[in-house]
């Protein structure tokens, strides 16, 4: 009974959120949701689609043609050239895309290398597919960077893919072009797929003065297009976590196979959300700029507050996303530390062990929440750690 799921676990992030609901006065900096509502221009696009009566039926399995055409157009602005008819699938958020990709590209028993700490649900999807996650530690001392020799050491005959998140959740690290090309060389040498989850790609480089300077993606390298599957979600950039819509793209050879699984899993992404995604791509640029400015302020606020708690935490300032991942100086047991914070002062954070073995001894703090919430959480911690 339940053999396939016996090694799966409910995400620790969700466990913490569930636990937090027991405390009415809780202040949560746990789950990775932004404080903003979906922008008005996106809602109006959806309202228009609803009024026209075009959302009640399935779309084609890979998604609405007009949305995929828009996606191709937006990808081309970032030097990624993919055919909307054969190389792009609209997904029900990125996690569905990840699941479809791993189920399509791997066989049970395959191994997938994951730089860690990284997003907690990757492990579960890999296990669900009957594969083995192989964690490769990032180097905290050098700012959570890749160490390519460690990948080389861990590659076996069963290794099928390297799966990374860029910018990385929970560390907020952006992997630079040189590091990524190094990873690509390894993939070429050992004939591996590269699965690149880029859901935070619009929330980057808070040290710069303006937003919208795209990060480098291996999906830009044409000779790698048959190896790279790149995923994006509208959740983070456009404050659309509840809409569950994203997309993936790769060479048509891979997409043809991934589409079969996508069709089995969801038939198509929710059509109403596909119209929301169209609104985002057509009119959402200004909102991304607005969010970026807000996250930059909040990142600085969270770091400033962490500086005051320097007896309890040390941290690397994140370049992107809306997470900071401080090391706990007082204990290495991140679960107990997080539960303690929750029980004693009703502040919810995510224990670092959720993100892989190398995440132990840290906590993830979400600065995507509003300033008032961030300040209230830190006020309580100031008092508690006094």
């Amino acid at each position: 009974m339940f053999d396939r799921v016996k090694d799966l676990r409910l995400s620790i992030i969700k466990q913490i959120e569930l636990e937090a609901t027991k405390y009415p006065n809780v202040v949560s900096l746990a789950q990775g949701i932004p404080s903003f509502d979906t922008p008005g221009c996106i809602k109006r696009r959806v309202e228009n689609a609803l009024n026209r009566g075009v959302v009640a039926q399935y779309s084609l399995s890979p998604g609405l043609p007009e949305l995929r055409e828009l996606i191709e157009y937006s990808l081309a602005k970032e030097n990624m050239y993919y055919d909307w008819q054969k190389e792009i699938i609209v997904t029900a958020g990125s996690i569905e895309g990840i699941t479809a990709t791993i189920l399509a590209l791997t066989n049970p028993g395959d191994e997938i290398l994951i730089p860690e700490p990284t997003y907690t649900s990757y492990r579960e999807v890999i296990v669900l597919a009957g594969c083995k996650p192989v964690f490769v530690p990032l180097n905290e001392d050098s700012g959570w960077t890749f160490e390519l020799n460690k990948y080389e050491e861990l590659i076996t005959e069963k290794t099928k893919a390297i799966f990374y998140c860029n910018p990385n959740n929970p560390t907020g690290t952006i992997y630079n072009k040189q590091q990524l090309l190094g990873l690509a060389e390894l993939a070429k040498k050992h004939n591996l797929y590269l699965i690149s989850d880029e859901v935070y790609k619009d929330l980057i480089d808070y040290n710069k003065k303006i937003a919208n300077e795209p990060i480098f993606s291996l999906a830009e390298v044409k000779e790698l297009r048959h190896r790279v599957v790149r995923l994006f979600s509208f959740s983070k950039a456009y404050a659309m976590t509840g809409w569950r819509v994203g997309y993936l793209h790769s060479d048509e050879k891979n997409i043809k196979e991934i589409l079969k699984v996508h069709d089995c899993l969801v038939t198509c992404a929710p059509v109403i959300s596909q119209y929301a995604a169209m609104g985002a791509l057509e009119m959402g640029d200004k909102d991304i700029d607005f969010f970026w400015q807000a996250y930059k302020r909040r990142r600085d606020l969270a770091c400033h507050r962490l500086d005051k708690l320097n007896k309890t935490f040390s941290y690397i300032k994140p370049d992107s996303s809306y997470f900071v991942f401080p090391r706990i100086k007082t204990t290495n047991d991140s679960w107990m530390f997080s539960i303690d914070l929750l029980k004693k002062i009703q502040v919810a954070v995510v224990p670092g062990m959720a993100f892989g073995p190398n995440g132990e001894g840290h906590v993830r703090i979400n600065f995507g929440r509003d300033e008032k919430t961030i300040n209230e959480a830190f006020n309580r911690m100031d008092e508690y750690f006094k």
Binding site: R52, G53, E69, Y73, Y82, D83, K222
Partner: protein
């Protein structure tokens, strides 16, 4: 109230745009169809710009009753902001006095409701008309496909005898269009191998390469190998259309 203001805005922008078009008389290239309008527009614009023509096209997909005038006037949308629209209305008036109005307008025409094409053609009179394809997309507001196809037939019938029509030979709905325009007609297609339809520019021997696509471009009197850095047949169509426009443009400009 909102609908009332939108209607006023729609007719104000139309009126102003007609004045400006009457003053400057640019060559209007109209691109209609269910898909691929934006890629075709960009390809034509880029190729004409390389030849130093002063070209303006729709930003994003400003191609409807309000978007099209904004594209011609080179103005942004105010979206849902009354303040922004007030500024745009003021700026639109100043556009009458613009000295550097482009010689060529490359415009997408978007239709989603019956009568849309008729309204758009009360603003512009295209000399060159391209129909990329006709599919079920945007059909929901029409009673049937015939009614949707009627929009495109209206466009073709309004193209004057000195004009040029480019049609996709591979699209079944386009093949069956009924119209009476005496404008010059050129077809484009992929592996069509049809000779009797008149002038047809074709692509065949398409090969996908790691860097894009390679194909044989067959013109009426010659052929050559082309490579493009994009993937998908729609880019081959865009390239064919752009080649035809470049071949014919001097006749319309001089």
């Amino acid at each position: 109230m909102k609908i009332f203001l939108k209607t006023i805005l729609k007719y104000y922008l139309k009126f102003l745009t007609k004045i400006i078009l009457a003053i400057h008389s640019p060559l209007v290239i109209a691109i209609a169809g269910s898909t691929n309008k934006t890629f075709v527009k960009d390809e034509i614009k880029q190729s004409l710009a390389k030849r130093n023509f002063n070209v303006r096209s729709n930003p994003k997909s400003f191609n409807t009753e309000i978007g099209l005038p904004l594209a011609i006037l080179n103005l942004p949308s105010g979206y849902n902001s009354y303040n922004l629209w007030v500024k745009i209305i003021f700026r639109s008036f100043l556009a009458i006095f613009s000295k550097n109005f482009p010689k060529i307008l490359v415009l997408e025409l978007g239709i989603s409701d019956p009568g849309d094409m008729k309204f758009l053609l009360t603003i512009i009179q295209p000399k060159i008309v391209i129909i990329t394809d006709i599919t079920q997309r945007y059909r929901e507001a029409f009673n049937d496909m015939d009614e949707l196809i009627g929009e495109y037939e209206y466009l073709l019938n309004r193209t004057s005898s000195g004009g040029l029509i480019l049609l996709n030979k591979d699209n079944t709905a386009i093949k069956n269009l009924k119209y009476k325009s005496k404008a010059e007609l050129i077809f484009f297609g992929i592996n069509t191998k049809i000779k009797e339809v008149g002038e047809c520019w074709q692509a065949d021997e398409i090969i996908k390469t790691p860097n894009g696509q390679k194909f044989n471009l067959i013109k009426p009197t010659s052929q050559k190998t082309r490579t493009i850095n994009r993937f998908g047949h729609h880019h081959i169509y865009s390239n064919l259309i752009s080649e035809i426009i470049n071949h014919k443009i001097d006749k319309f400009i001089n």
